[in-house]
Symmetry: C2
DNA sequence: GCAAAAATGAGGTGCGTACCTCAAAACCGC
DNA sequence: GCGGTTTTGAGGTACGCACCTCATTTTTGC
């Protein structure tokens, strides 16, 4: 903490002028590779660390980010919006602006077009939650080319962008472990259902669930996934049919985020002792836990997700390393007792 | 985000000079109450927010904090030290310095003396992990009087300092819920043991554990707590005796952080199907989870704890509000599957 | 070896605040 | 209304960096 070297010291050590140091530090053009190297060497030698406070001050703003989300309207998304708004307020003091763009439906073309419309002078980074399609992949690459840092938020986009979110396979595996342990030796079928089963999340969760079931809890028989399509009537019908067809039903695993319809439907027909596991903390699932309508919730902390996304974007904008441990989103298990 | 008002604007709005604004903002003396009020009114009226970046830059440093910890030497503490070191590195760029002071043993007088020796010119805040005693309470009050912000870290100090840590009663309750669910209807005794049972943590956890056991799992009979005193030989003896005395033993709950000796001892004599629950993620407990030597770990994220402590201290130093949601330390449940 | 192009240097300004000094003004008790 | 004290003002410098302009040097192509 004794006075750290400044750009002036760096310039002297590298044998160049302040202007050149500035060019190198900020990646401007018009500097020979040889010079760049010598400055970088000097940075290491004297242990120069840029004072980001002064940099942000001089730059007159920290950064401006956007979250691009689908306009689905479920409680999970509402929670995300609330966390984003909170984070924005907290970061206003550091001159960080955060916007939220909600795009209706899951139209990859529209999403890609929106990404293409973002201006590099306005935005420094974009966190995108969207299914992985070729259009999106290209749009992300073009964003990066324009100097806007892309981030895959909750839905992995491969190497088109760094990813912030949880491992859905492990989340499914965790659900299976709880189901198996709670069943404790009983045997019978387990119902698995979800909103839509095509999404990457749902597929990964199902895979993780099945793997652990097969390995550790062979007495339980996971049934083929059923798709509710977000339709409450259909959901009720599916559940009624399943409960009737399997009088020895051990448990139900709701693997997508809309947990309300299935849990409500179960409330009326569930046999006693039925184990119910669902995903995502929402005000409904919390209440359901308290009321005993569900036994465990597998979730990820939304505030942490949002903040992690912002931290990751900032780190990239400021060309800084991240604290890996802080950015690994944990798979949380919620019981009534640790809400 | 359009140009925020600066101190200059504030001075104009309040009808005073920049010097007076400075005096008020930084709580210097020699300003009439009437003037202070009018400046504060102007702050609200024009929505002035101090630019902490510029302030930190001008002040030539962000802040300097110290963690004062007991020199116990268990894995939990080692983890904390590692997280503190990480956080310090990450925050160096923001001119935040973090020190760690390890005080041998749990001598409240020594700890109090150490706190008294801290200089307000050097430290802005201190996070203290120590048992709650009158000496400590007084030392914390005197710290605050000298202008050093105190923080109760992991161990609550009542109103002597704000608290960062988890609710140990809820942690114990969570352990009980898992124990009960994993036991799934079987009946029999449950062994509860810990390093030391006098500490506030241990007492709270036991209380939470018993409450849930009595309410939801009456078929299980928690036995009186046994104290291992950190002695492996004694631990082995206790466990051997308990296993012999209770052939129908259902589970074991290790409620303090030194989980290694009990789990190792159990490894040799545990009846099949015995449910083992312990606290705190360490490299040992993680390995034990993977190897199946323990069924669940109740823990709190150490990195989160440390960062939350620092954020809370910073917020106080900078006279800023905190993001409550971010500072509530969650009680995590770890299974093999969600490590 | 020449002109054109590329690379580098010198020097300045501004960001919003902290902190300092010295002088001027307002207030106080009597 | 006096001397003394307290309060306030004016103005400056510094923090470390970004960003700008213009001159000068070095390199490149031919």
């Amino acid at each position: 903490m004794t006075d750290r070297p400044t750009t002036k010291d760096l310039a002297r050590a590298a044998g160049v002028s302040l202007a050149t140091v500035d060019r190198v530090l900020n990646g401007r053009s018009g500097v020979r590779q040889k010079t760049v190297d010598s400055v970088n060497r000097a940075i290491r030698e004297i242990g120069f660390e840029r004072n980001m406070l002064a940099a942000a001050l001089a730059r007159r703003r920290g950064a401006r980010f956007a979250f691009v989300l689908p306009e689905t309207g479920d409680e999970f998304r509402d929670g995300l919006l609330a966390r984003i708004a909170e984070t924005e307020r907290a970061l206003a003091a550091e001159q960080i602006a955060i916007e939220t763009h909600c795009l209706s439906a899951a139209d990859p073309h529209r999403t890609a077009a929106h990404l293409a419309s973002l201006d590099a002078d306005t935005y420094d980074g974009v966190a995108l939650l969207a299914p992985r399609t070729p259009q999106i992949r290209d749009a992300l690459h073009r964003l990066a080319e324009r100097g806007i840092h892309p981030l895959a938020f909750l839905a992995d986009q491969g190497d088109a962008a760094p990813f912030v979110g949880t491992d859905n396979r492990a989340a499914g595996a965790t659900a299976a472990a709880l189901m198996g342990r709670f069943a404790a030796g009983r045997d019978g079928p387990v119902l698995v259902l979800g909103d839509s089963l095509q999404s990457r999340d749902a597929i990964d969760r199902r895979a993780g669930f099945d793997a652990v079931m097969a390995r550790d809890f062979a007495a339980l028989r996971p049934l083929p996934s059923l798709e509710t399509r977000g339709d409450p009537t259909r959901t009720r019908a599916i559940i009624a049919r399943a409960v009737a067809a399997h009088p020895d039903l051990i448990g139900v695993y709701v693997l997508t985020s809309e947990a309300r319809p299935p849990l409500k439907a179960l409330g009326q027909v569930a046999p006693p002792g039925l184990i119910r596991i669902a995903h995502e903390r929402t005000s409904f699932t919390q209440g359901a836990l308290r009321r005993g309508q569900v036994d465990a919730i597998i979730t990820q902390d939304q505030g942490h997700l949002v903040r992690s996304a912002i931290r990751t974007l900032r780190a990239r904008v400021e060309n800084r390393p991240i604290l890996a441990g802080q950015e690994r989103i944990r798979i949380e298990i919620l019981l009534k007792e640790n809400l």
